[in-house]
């Protein structure tokens, strides 16, 4: 599956459009990570636990989008966008969307 965030797949021609595909996941962090993060908040710096958590969640959302696209018979998703929103305290939603196409 080819993913791009531009309107085409360079070097290939788009043969067919399948419309919007999207994937999302809502994740909360577990207590241990939260505790570590609040300690880290004192001295500042990177919160590795959060970075990993968000990256994992984003990968999962992307995989869901890819599954959907594959189901439609597409072999590429173009114009992929990421969106993040915090739903509640300590939980955030990662949303990925794009246009499924078939390229040759």
């Amino acid at each position: 599956m080819i993913l791009t965030n531009i309107e085409s797949v360079p070097g290939k021609n788009i043969m067919e459009h399948f419309g919007l595909v999207s994937g999302s996941t809502v994740r909360a962090k577990h207590l241990g990570r939260d505790l570590m993060a609040s300690l880290k908040n004192l001295v500042g710096g990177e919160l590795k636990g959060y970075t990993e958590l968000l990256q994992e969640s984003r990968d999962e959302a992307t995989n869901r989008m890819i599954d959907q696209a594959r189901h439609l018979g597409a072999n590429a998703v173009i114009n992929v966008r990421f969106a993040t929103s915090s739903v509640a305290q300590g939980a955030s939603e990662l949303y990925v969307y794009g246009t499924a196409v078939r390229v040759e």
Binding site: I6, V9, N41, V43, G44, Y50, T51, L54, F82, G90
Partner: protein, 149 residues
């Protein structure tokens, strides 16, 4: 006693935070020099000058960075007088540059990254509290193009 612990946290935040930030900036600068040959641009369509395209892939990088206790206090004071909040400027700058570097690391064997997008969001506990930013996430993504050699 309370004042003492407050001062302790302030001091700890200041000393450790400053050292960590300096070290982070040094590592960012060395890595930025390493990746100079891989341009990341915000334009979508470029002239490939007849080069054959080997592969196209979505690359991304992200970083969650938080400010230290001292700087958060400082920013709180700034809220009274208004003006430039330098401590948060460096926070955002660090997060974005780190995320960009991580994206470039993913695109290491590519020739160019097109349509680079930067997205920032406040996360964590303080996301809902209006006054303090606390920690922020920077996400950078783009389309990496590799030419056939």
């Amino acid at each position: 006693m309370e004042l003492l612990s407050l001062l302790f946290f302030l001091g700890l935040g200041y000393i450790v935070g400053t050292i960590a930030e300096k070290r982070h900036y040094r590592s960012i600068e060395t890595r930025e020099r390493q990746y100079l040959s891989l341009p990341a641009v915000t334009i979508k369509n470029i002239d490939h000058q007849g080069a054959k395209i080997e592969s196209v892939a979505l690359v991304q990088g992200s970083a969650v960075i938080s400010v230290d206790y001292f700087k958060r206090m400082l920013a709180g004071l700034r809220n009274i007088f208004g003006g430039r909040v330098k401590s948060y400027e460096t926070l955002l700058d660090r997060a974005r540059r780190e995320a960009t570097l991580r994206m470039k690391k993913q695109a290491l064997f590519s020739d160019i990254v097109l349509n680079m997008r930067v997205e920032t969001s406040a996360i964590g506990k303080s996301a809902n509290r209006k006054k303090s930013i606390g920690s922020i996430e920077a996400l950078v993504y783009g389309t990496a193009i590799t030419y056939r050699k």
